[in-house]
C-alpha cells in the first residue's frame, strides 16, 4: 500500500481546493495521469500522479482543502509504483509545463505524444484526457463532429434532399462547399438512373409552374405510372437503334378489300396489324437473334424457342400490350381473330395480367392515327420492336415509269447490345418484302 500525497505545486503555494477527483476506487492509474483538479490562489490545475497502479482508496473529495504533503490516493502495493518525485510548478499562465502523455483510452487517431520525463515539474495542463466512462444508461458516444459545412451549405443540402454527412468535401480537411453538394446530388441522380433497379430519380428539381399560369397536380395512377417506370428503365438501359424502310402494300390492300367485302362471313377483319403479327412471327423464326433477352448479370443471351408477339393497344387508360401466343404456328385468320379479341378485352378492361406477359417481340401500329414515321421504344426485356405508320399513296418509279403505289412506313428499333446493324437491316427488309408479297408467308409454312 502506497499513498500519493499532494506534491509541491510552486512558489508560495501550500494548499488548494479540490474541484474534482478524476479517478475512482478500482481505477488503474498510469504515472503522470491527472488524478485531481485543484484550484489554488493562482490557478486551476490538474495534479498528475507520480505513482501508478490500482487505486484502493480516495482520501479527498470535491470541496476539500488539501495541503502539500497531504495524502490523496492509496494505491495497491504491487511494486510498480515509482518513487514520488517532489515537484513544483509556476502558476498556470506562465507554466513551463507539458501536456500529459496520451491516455490509454484515447482514440487511435489522436496524435501520439510520447511521455518525456521532466524532473521536478508537475504537469498541470489539462491537455487531452479521456472522457469519464458514460453512465450505464447514457447514450452511446457520438460518432464525431458534424460535417464540416457552413450553415448555408447545410441548408442547400437539405433543400436538395442530400444527407450532408454523405457528401465528400473537396476543401481543406474535407470542408464541404455548395459545389460539393451539387456534385453529390448530380451523382446520386445519374447513378440511380444507371442502376436501373434503384427507385427512379425525380430528376432535376421542378420550377414552380404556377408562376406562369394555373396548374393542377394529378396523381400518376396505375397504368401511367407503370408505363413511366417501365419505359424509363428501358430508355436508361438499352442502347437503341432505329432503322426505317417502307413496304409497297398495294397488292395486300387489294386482298384486304376483297376480304372485307365478304367480311360478314368472317368474325375478324384482316388488317395491317394482323398481317404484321404473322409476318413478324415468321421473321423471328428466320432471324432467331431477334427472339432473345439479354441477361447482363449472368453474361448470357436467353434464346426463346417460342414466338409470342405483343400488340400495343391504345386504350382510354393508356397503353396496353396484349400478347398473341405462338403466332408463328397460327393461321392469318386465327391471328386476326385473336388480335381483335385481345384489343376488345383491353378496351373493356378485361385483359388479364397473364395475357400481357411473355411477349418476345412487340408491334406498335400508329397508322390508324396518322404520322409519317416514329421511333418505337423497345419493350424490355424484349430486344426489338416494329413500328408501323400510316400507309399512303406515293409515286414509285418502277418498270421505267412512275406509278401510284400504297407505301407503308416501317421502323424497327432494337437493342444494339444484342443485334448488329446489318442484321437489323436484313430483318426489316425481309419483313417489308413479305408485306409486298404476302403469299411468301404460305411458302414459309
Amino acid at each position: 500500500m502506497a499513498d500519493f500525497t499532494l506534491p509541491e505545486l510552486g512558489e508560495n503555494i501550500t494548499a488548494g481546493d479540490v474541484l474534482n477527483v478524476l479517478v475512482k476506487v478500482g481505477d488503474t492509474v498510469a504515472r503522470d495521469q491527472a488524478v485531481l483538479e485543484l484550484e489554488t490562489d493562482k490557478a486551476t490545475i490538474e495534479v498528475p500522479s507520480s505513482l501508478s497502479g490500482k487505486v484502493t482508496a480516495i482520501k479527498v473529495k470535491a470541496g476539500d482543502k488539501v495541503q502539500v504533503g497531504q495524502a490523496i490516493l492509496s494505491f495497491e502495493d504491487n511494486g510498480a509504483s515509482a518513487s514520488p518525485a517532489p515537484a513544483k510548478v509556476a502558476p498556470v499562465a506562465a507554466a513551463p509545463s507539458q501536456p500529459p502523455p496520451p491516455p490509454e483510452t484515447a482514440a487511435p487517431a489522436e496524435r501520439v505524444r510520447p511521455a518525456v520525463e521532466k524532473d521536478n515539474v508537475v504537469d498541470i495542463s489539462r491537455g487531452t484526457r479521456p472522457a469519464q466512462p458514460p453512465a450505464p444508461a447514457s447514450t452511446p458516444a457520438s460518432s464525431g463532429p458534424s460535417a464540416p459545412a457552413a450553415p448555408s451549405v447545410r441548408r442547400m443540402a437539405r433543400e436538395l434532399g442530400v444527407n450532408i454527412d454523405e457528401v465528400a468535401g473537396t476543401g481543406d480537411d474535407g470542408r464541404i462547399s455548395i459545389d460539393d453538394v451539387k456534385a453529390h446530388a448530380k451523382r446520386l441522380i445519374t447513378t440511380a438512373a444507371a442502376g436501373g433497379t434503384a427507385p427512379h430519380p425525380a430528376g432535376e428539381p421542378l420550377p414552380d409552374f404556377s408562376r406562369w399560369g394555373a396548374i393542377e397536380r394529378q396523381p400518376m395512377r396505375g397504368i401511367r405510372k407503370k408505363t413511366a417506370e417501365h419505359l424509363g428503365a428501358s430508355w436508361a438501359t438499352i442502347p437503341l437503334v432505329t432503322q426505317y424502310d417502307s413496304a409497297d402494300i398495294t397488292g395486300f390492300e387489294e386482298i384486304r378489300k376483297r376480304h372485307a367485302a365478304q367480311g360478314e362471313k368472317t368474325a375478324a377483319p384482316l388488317t395491317v396489324t394482323t398481317l404484321a403479327v404473322k409476318i413478324v412471327a415468321a421473321a423471328l423464326r428466320q432471324f432467331p437473334q431477334f427472339n432473345v433477352s439479354i441477361d447482363m448479370a449472368a453474361g448470357e443471351i436467353v434464346v426463346k424457342k417460342y414466338v409470342h408477339v405483343g400488340v400495343a393497344v391504345d386504350t382510354d387508360r393508356g397503353l396496353l400490350v396484349p400478347v398473341v401466343r405462338d403466332a408463328d404456328t397460327k393461321s392469318l385468320m386465327q391471328v386476326s381473330e385473336e388480335v381483335a379479341a385481345l384489343a376488345e378485352k383491353a378496351r373493356s378492361r378485361k385483359l388479364s395480367l397473364e395475357e400481357m406477359q411473355g411477349g418476345t417481340f412487340s408491334i406498335s401500329n400508329l397508322g390508324g392515327i396518322g404520322g409519317t414515321s416514329f421511333t418505337p421504344l423497345v419493350n424490355a426485356p424484349e430486344v426489338a420492336i416494329l413500328g408501323i405508320s400510316r400507309a399512303r399513296m406515293e409515286p414509285v418509279f418502277r418498270d421505267g415509269q412512275f406509278s401510284p403505289r400504297l407505301m407503308l412506313p416501317l421502323s424497327l428499333s432494337y437493342d444494339h447490345r444484342a443485334i448488329d446493324g446489318a442484321d437489323g437491316a436484313r430483318f426489316l427488309r425481309w419483313v417489308a418484302g413479305v408485306f409486298e408479297q404476302p403469299f411468301l408467308l404460305s411458302l414459309q409454312g
Binding site: 474541484l19 474534482n20 484550484e39 490557478a43 486551476t44 498556470v92 499562465a93 506562465a94 507554466a95 513551463p96 509545463s97 507539458q98 501536456p99 502523455p101 483510452t105 484515447a106 482514440a107 487517431a109 489522436e110 496524435r111 505524444r113 510520447p114 511521455a115 518525456v116 495542463s125 489539462r126 491537455g127 487531452t128 479521456p130 472522457a131 469519464q132 466512462p133 458514460p134 453512465a135 447514457s138 447514450t139 452511446p140 458516444a141 457520438s142 464525431g144 463532429p145 458534424s146 460535417a147 464540416p148 459545412a149 457552413a150 450553415p151 447545410r154 441548408r155 437539405r158 433543400e159 434532399g161 480537411d173 470542408r175
Partner: protein, 470 residues
C-alpha cells in the same frame, strides 16, 4: 373577418420575427398579442429591461472599483423614479420600433387574446373590445413561457416577487432573498445587490447555473460572492410566511432547518411553457408531459396547418432560439425544406463577470463519453484584461482531437456575452483550431483570448508558455 395566409399567436421575439419574415416573403400575415406593440416578455419584462438595469449596476460597480486606480467617487445617490423611467423609456423605444416595423410591413396587428376554433380559424378577443375572427392557412403558436412558482413558494404577498415584479423596482429592500441560482436570479440579484440590498441567493443543487461548465461558473461564483451577502448551495426553501417585519423563510440545508427574515423575496426557480391557448385541444396539436408543444425539426405540430416555436416548444428558453425557430417555421410554410438544425445556441448570463457558452460543453462531452481536448486561455495573460483591471476571466475551447474542429466555446469575464458570437460562427462554419489561430485578431482586445486559446491547443500561445511534448 380577416383571412390570412399566416397568423402568429404571440408577439415575442420569436413571434414577431416570424410574422415579419412571412410579410417579407409576400404572405398575408396577422400577429396577435395582448400588448400594445410586439415585443413579448423579452422586450417588456425580460432580457431588455434587465439589461438596462444591469448596465446601471455595472456603472456603479466600476465607479466603486475606480478607487483602486486613484479615482474616488462619492457613493451614488439613487433616484429610483428616474431609474424606472430610464428602463421604461428603453422598453418604450424598442416596442414602438417593433410596432412601426409591423405597420410598415403591413402585418395586421391584433391586440388581444386568441382562442382556436379549429385548425383553420381562431378568434381574437380584442383588448379594445369586440372580437375578430381570423381564417388562416397556417398558424404559428409562439406563446412563450411564464415564471414557474412551486406550491411551497406561493405566497400572496407583494413582498414576494417574480422576475416581472422585481423588474418594476418597487423599492430597494434592505434584505432580499433570491430563490434560485439560475441566470434570472443571479442577474436580478446582482442589480439589487449593487443598488444596495443585502442579497442572499439560495440554490437547491450543489452549484450555480446548472448546465454551464464548472470551471467557468467558479470564476463567476467568485465575482458574485463579493457582492452578495451569502450564497447558500444545497439548500432548500421549505416554507415562507408573511410576517409584519418581513417574509420569514425556513431553510433546510440537510442538517435541520433554520429561519431567516427578509424584506423581500424574489422567486426565480425557472419558467414553464405557456401552451394555454384556448381551443388548442380542438386540434391535433399535442403537448408532452412537461407541457411543451411537440414539434418536429421543421417546427410542425401534429396538426399540419399549425406550427409552434420558442419557449413553448422546449428548452433552452432563449429569445434568439425563438427568433431562429420562427424564421424556420415561416420558411417551411413558404415551401422551403428548412429545418431547425443549429450546431450551437449561445447562452449568456449577464452578471458581473458575464458567462457565456455555445456548442458542446466539457460536461456534455464527458457525459456522452466523447473524447475532446480542452484548450484554455486565462485572462490573466490578456493585455486587454489587464488594462481593464479585469483578469477574472477564462476563455476555453472544446476541440475534437482528431479533426481539430471547434465543437464548443466557453467564456467567463467582462464582456463575455459579446465575445461568444465569434465562437458561434466558428462552430457553425466548421472552423478548426487552426482557423481561429490563423485569423488575425485586433490588439489589444479580449477577442484575442479566443485566438490564443486556439494557440494553446497547439502549444504555441504567445502569452502562455505551455509547450507541447514532442
Amino acid at each position: 373577418m380577416i383571412s390570412a395566409q399566416v397568423v402568429v399567436v404571440g408577439g415575442g421575439p420569436g413571434g414577431y420575427a416570424a410574422a415579419f419574415l412571412a410579410a417579407d416573403l409576400g404572405l398575408k400575415t396577422a400577429l396577435v398579442d395582448p400588448e400594445v406593440n410586439p415585443g413579448g416578455v423579452c422586450v417588456y419584462r425580460g432580457c431588455i429591461p434587465s439589461k438596462a438595469l444591469l448596465h446601471v449596476a455595472k456603472l456603479v460597480a466600476e465607479a466603486r472599483h475606480a478607487k483602486a486606480w486613484g479615482i474616488a467617487f462619492a457613493e451614488p445617490a439613487i433616484d429610483l423614479t428616474k431609474l424606472r423611467a430610464f428602463k421604461d423609456q428603453v422598453v418604450g423605444r424598442l416596442t414602438n420600433g417593433t410596432g412601426l416595423l409591423a405597420k410598415s410591413r403591413k402585418v395586421q396587428y391584433l391586440q388581444g387574446f386568441a382562442s382556436l376554433d379549429d385548425a383553420h380559424s381562431l378568434r381574437v378577443k380584442l383588448v379594445a373590445g369586440g372580437e375578430e375572427t381570423v381564417q388562416f392557412e397556417h398558424a404559428i403558436v409562439a406563446t412563450g413561457s411564464v415564471p414557474a412558482v412551486p406550491a411551497s413558494l406561493r405566497l400572496d404577498d407583494a413582498r414576494v416577487m417574480d422576475s416581472t415584479s422585481a423588474l418594476n423596482l418597487p423599492d430597494i429592500p434592505k434584505s432580499l432573498l433570491v430563490v434560485g441560482g439560475g441566470y434570472i436570479g443571479l442577474e436580478l440579484g446582482s442589480v439589487y445587490a449593487t443598488l444596495g440590498s443585502a442579497v442572499t441567493v439560495v440554490e437547491m443543487t450543489p452549484g450555480l447555473l446548472p448546465g454551464a461548465d464548472r470551471d467557468l461558473v467558479d470564476v463567476l461564483a467568485k465575482g458574485i460572492g463579493k457582492i452578495m451577502k451569502a450564497v447558500l448551495l444545497n439548500t432548500r426553501v421549505v416554507q415562507m410566511k408573511a410576517a409584519p417585519e418581513g417574509i420569514r423563510v425556513t431553510f433546510d440545508a440537510g442538517a435541520g432547518t433554520r429561519d431567516e427574515v427578509f424584506d423581500r423575496v424574489l422567486v426565480a426557480v425557472g419558467r414553464r411553457p405557456n401552451a394555454s391557448v384556448p381551443g388548442l385541444d380542438k386540434t391535433r396539436v399535442r403537448l408532452d408531459e412537461r407541457g411543451f408543444i411537440v414539434v418536429d425539426e421543421q417546427m410542425r405540430t401534429a396538426e399540419p396547418s399549425i406550427f409552434a416555436i420558442g419557449d413553448v416548444v422546449g428548452e433552452p428558453m432563449l429569445a434568439h432560439k425563438a427568433s431562429h425557430e420562427g424564421r424556420v417555421a415561416v420558411e417551411v410554410i413558404a415551401g422551403s425544406k428548412a429545418a431547425f438544425a443549429p450546431l450551437a445556441i449561445p447562452a449568456v448570463v449577464f452578471t458581473d463577470p458575464e458567462l457565456a457558452w455555445a456548442g458542446l460543453t466539457e460536461a456534455q462531452a464527458q457525459a456522452a463519453g466523447r473524447t475532446v481536448t480542452v484548450a484554455k486561455f486565462p485572462w490573466a495573460a490578456s493585455g486587454r484584461a489587464i488594462t481593464l483591471d479585469r483578469v477574472d476571466g477564462l476563455t476555453k475551447l472544446v476541440i475534437d482531437p482528431t479533426t481539430e474542429r471547434i465543437l464548443g466555446v466557453g467564456l467567463v469575464g467582462s464582456g463575455a456575452g459579446e465575445l461568444i458570437a465569434e465562437g458561434v460562427v466558428a462552430i457553425e462554419m466548421g472552423a478548426s483550431a487552426s482557423d481561429l489561430k490563423l485569423s488575425i485578431h485586433p490588439h489589444p482586445t479580449l477577442t484575442e483570448t479566443l485566438m490564443e486559446a486556439a494557440e494553446v491547443f497547439f502549444g504555441q500561445a504567445t502569452h502562455v508558455y505551455k509547450p507541447k511534448r514532442t
